[in-house]
């Protein structure tokens, strides 16, 4: 009885579908590893899955758990950004650009203006928000598809940030990377609140918890509030939203602005730990944005679901860097993730099968 109830709930179905997708992805990934080098394949796939558990010394395990979690935080934010826009009927592919602008904003605020960390973080949020709002404005006023404008804004953001940070105030003289925060802008770093000691990782701070709290808030906004009701109605049917007197123009702009703000916050939460430098010679957008799309879908486009899917993706992609790189490429985990995404597209199919099974069962029950 209990089992049947679980199968009934759409949340459970999504979860099962994601699990199926993950297993299928791992199987195909394993086959690829076998093709490259059969002998090392079992070990390699285990390495990917074990990630920090590959280490034996407890403090190294802790340090690597910290590293994974630090990288998970921004992914949760970008996948939340995608999820939020998607719930309102928009595909925010511009999340990579909004994230990039967020990086530019917080780096500049920290390094050039010497702003305290909370203002840097706020600036990153505002930057992402404005960038998202531009796409929203183009969509609602000029009916420009948000995917097209998003892709173009992505590239615009990349070069803007490259040019912006390519400056004595923010860039190291000998390398294209931005200045290290802990040397030049300690005031701009998010305080770790002693959490760095707990996990023996200097970058580990409250970011991951902030990301989880934001995910919960987004979940509440979408499902419990009048605001969420309006946004989802606009996404579901903008004509009906307009008919009932909602401001569909405003709602579309607002949605992409909030989505952009989430991406910007993700950038701030990550870069203000000082873990990474921005390469002003970068010729491609940070993967965090596009991974956000991946994590959002794997998480069943559910704000709580993306917490777990984001963690999983970061877990195996970091695990992927630990395999024998003389034999395999670290991109193997990227490949696995990609395959998982293809299989999550089958989420729908799995759901349908489950639904049909249920219906058949119900029918049989009726007949008896």
């Amino acid at each position: 009885m209990k089992k049947k109830f679980k199968l009934d709930s759409p949340g459970m179905q999504t979860f099962l579908a994601s699990v199926v997708a993950i297993i299928a992805g791992l199987v195909v990934g394993f086959i690829v590893l076998l093709c490259i080098n059969p002998a090392g394949a079992p070990k390699a796939i285990l390495t990917i899955l074990k990630n920090y558990l590959n280490f034996t010394r407890p403090n190294l395990i802790l340090k690597n758990i910290g590293g994974t979690l630090v990288r998970t935080a921004p992914l949760i934010m970008t996948s939340l950004a995608v999820t939020f826009a998607y719930k309102v009927g928009m595909f925010n592919i511009g999340v990579a650009g909004q994230y990039t602008i967020g990086i530019g904003c917080c780096m500049w605020a920290a390094l050039a203006w010497d702003w305290p960390w909370y203002l840097c973080l706020l600036f990153a949020v505002v930057g992402g928000m404005v960038w998202g709002a531009i796409a929203g404005f183009l969509k609602s006023v000029f009916n420009v598809n948000e995917v097209i404008s998003g892709i173009m804004l992505n590239w615009i953001s990349l070069y803007i940030v490259n040019i912006w940070l390519n400056n004595d105030l923010t860039k190291e003289t000998v390398s294209p990377g931005t200045l290290q925060l802990h040397n030049y802008a300690k005031q701009g770093m998010i305080p770790t609140l002693g959490l760095d000691k707990v996990l023996n990782n200097e970058y580990f701070g409250p970011s991951i918890f902030v990301a989880i709290i934001v995910a919960i808030i987004i979940n509440i906004v979408l499902n419990k509030t009048v605001f969420g009701y309006e946004l989802k109605a606009t996404g579901g049917n903008k004509h009906a939203a307009k008919y009932s007197g909602m401001n569909d123009y405003r709602n579309i702009i607002l949605t992409l602005a909030i989505s952009g703000a989430l991406a910007g916050l993700g950038a701030g939460l990550y870069y203000l730990t000082g873990i990474e430098q921005w390469e002003t010679s970068a010729s491609s957008l940070p993967a965090m944005g596009f991974d956000g799309i991946v994590a959002a879908f794997l998480g069943g486009l559910n704000p709580i679901g993306v917490i777990f899917s984001s963690y999983f993706i970061k877990h195996i992609s970091i695990g992927g860097t630990m395999i024998d790189l003389n034999v395999y490429s670290s991109d193997i985990s990227g490949l696995i993730v990609a395959i998982i995404i293809y299989f999550s597209a089958f989420t729908m199919i799995v759901r349908m099968v489950l639904k049909r099974l249920k219906e058949r069962k119900a029918e049989r029950g009726e007949k008896q």
Binding site: K224, T225, V226, F227, Y229, E230, K232, A233, G236, N237, H239, A240, A241, K242, Y243, S244, G245, M246, N247, E359, A362, E363
Partner: protein, 525 residues
């Protein structure tokens, strides 16, 4: 069952051209067709009558090869046949004019007719022969069409002729008409009836799906009635009355006439002056200099053939489209520049023409849709949080009061509800707001006789409680029986004001077709 029916058709050919025997089609949770048999004779017009959801469409889909029945078989000229897809049906000579035409808007009439059976030579389309055949058919049956006109530029009546020509071009001799008269003027309906009769006289078999009793009485030879998926019976039309047929269809006695007392019009609620609305389809204005008043306690009906500016008129009143010039005053307050929300709050409710486009968020649950106009009221929210208990409570009240049927009650997704119940939900939502002005556009479209009766009663009840009702309808019966006053729209203008008590349907039809018009002089009485 069928042996008794042989009694009827003594004079006609007793053999069935097409016969469906004991068809049963089951969908999860519902038996759409439960042991239904139907035989079609050569040279007869056979009406298929039933409410919405009675299983007419399913039965036709089975005949057309779109569904496979669980039980039963189909016989053509006495031999069992298997119809696996529409191509099989076409090969057997079965053609269908669908309720919603299956035409390619941006193709010419000729292209649409030959679509799928294009005559080719060396892989290239040769239209010359096709054109000759189409023109011959069009002449023979007086189905005048311009073969080179684009579908998007011709009237609905002409589009229907294209659909009919499509069947003839394919040499079909079993013709299914799915509610063909819904979109036509009375004159066009008469013409269609004559054409159908002509087909029958020629020996073609015609299956005529409808829920308009007078049409059945006028043209059909026999009539099969379905109710809730079950076969009720087949009657000889010449021995039947409208009352009998409607009782067979609904299962109880139905009040065919709307019962209402005389209107007692009060003050003006809505006053429209010289309103002009631009068209999205063409460069002309869709609504041209229209003026009228709606009073408290009256049902004012805007009649007209689809596409004569009624849609745009309502869009302008509700705020969905801006107006070019003129004024819209509600109780003396200018509304034409106000937002939709402000207009709604000023006392307009609106049952929209297109329930899927404007009326519902299909992926929302029934209860979420029922508060679509009121979710922001203190009754349903506190500090920006939705009061789910109140919403549920309200939704259950409306479901009960308006008899909205759905699989799971309040939490049913609107998408999964039947069209009739979706419409009921919208009507419940809008009428329950109890505003001063109710704009109601084709409120009974897609509803069955029982539900139509209920909606009409509700409209009259609103009127009797002193509210103003603006009804836009394409259904002549509805216009004649519900309205207290009729304005006829033709090509964006109001061409006549009629009193339903004194004018005839034919007269109304002439106005609708643009053959007759009064000088409305700004639309004032």
């Amino acid at each position: 069952m069928w042996s008794s029916l042989a009694l009827f058709g003594g004079k006609m050919n007793d053999k069935f051209v097409i016969e469906m025997q004991h068809i049963t089609k089951v969908f999860p949770g519902i038996v759409a067709n439960d042991d239904i048999s139907l035989g079609l004779r050569k040279g007869e017009i056979h009406a298929l009558l039933g409410e919405n959801g009675a299983g007419k469409s399913t039965l036709m889909s089975v005949l057309f090869g779109l569904y496979q029945p669980e039980e039963g078989k189909i016989l053509k000229d006495g031999k069992e046949v298997k119809i696996n897809n529409p191509n099989d049906a076409t090969a057997l000579g079965i053609g269908m004019v669908h309720q919603h035409f299956k035409l390619v808007e941006c193709f010419s009439v000729l292209d649409n007719i030959i679509l799928g059976v294009e005559p080719t030579k060396f892989g290239l389309i040769t239209k010359k022969e096709a054109r000759r055949k189409v023109m011959a058919l069009s002449e023979k049956y007086h189905l005048s069409v311009n073969p080179d006109a684009k579908i998007e530029n011709i009237t609905v009546g002409m589009q229907q002729r294209v659909e009919i020509l499509k069947m003839l071009y394919r040499d079909n001799d079993i013709l299914i008409f799915d509610e063909p008269t819904a979109v036509l003027t009375p004159q066009e309906i008469d013409e269609l009836m004559i054409i159908m009769r002509e087909f029958a006289n020629e020996g073609k078999a015609i299956l005529f799906i409808t829920h308009k009793l007078n049409e059945i009485l006028a043209v059909a030879d026999r009539c099969t009635v379905l109710r809730k998926g079950k076969y009720i019976g087949t009657v000889d039309v010449k021995d039947a009355t409208a009352e009998e047929l409607s009782e067979m269809m609904v299962g109880r006695k139905v009040q065919l006439q709307v019962e209402k007392s005389d209107a007692v019009p009060g003050d003006v609620v809505l006053s429209v002056k010289n309103m002009v609305v631009a068209s999205k389809q063409h460069k002309n204005n869709a609504v041209k200099n229209v003026s009228f008043d709606v009073h408290k306690g009256e049902i004012l009906c805007i009649a007209g053939i689809d596409g004569n500016g009624q849609t745009e008129l309502v869009y302008a009143l509700s705020g969905l489209e801006p107006i070019v010039s003129g004024s819209i005053k509600m109780n003396g307050v200018e509304l034409s520049k106000q937002s939709i929300r402000k207009r709604n709050l000023a006392g307009i409710s609106h049952i929209p023409e297109d329930r899927h486009k404007h009326g519902l968020v299909l992926d929302y649950s029934l209860e979420q849709n029922l508060v679509l106009q009121t979710y922001f009221e203190p009754e349903f929210q506190k500090n920006g949080f939705i009061k789910f208990n109140e919403v549920r409570h309200y939704s259950e009240k409306l479901i009960d009061q308006y008899d909205i049927r759905s699989g799971q009650g309040s939490i049913t997704t609107a998408r999964s509800m039947s069209g009739g119940n979706q419409q009921k939900a919208i009507i419940a939502r809008e009428i329950d707001r109890d505003t001063e002005l109710l704009i109601s556009v084709q409120p009974t479209r897609g509803l069955d006789v029982g539900a139509i009766e209920q909606v009409h009663r509700q409209l009259v009840a609103q009127r009797d409680s002193g509210k103003a009702v603006l009804l836009v309808s394409l259904e002549l019966d509805e216009v004649m029986s519900v309205a207290d006053r009729i304005l006829v729209m033709f090509e964006g203008e109001i061409v006549g004001e009629l009193n339903p008590k004194t004018c005839s349907v034919q007269e109304l039809g002439l106005y609708m077709a643009g053959a007759k018009r009064d000088d409305m002089n700004g639309g004032e009485k």
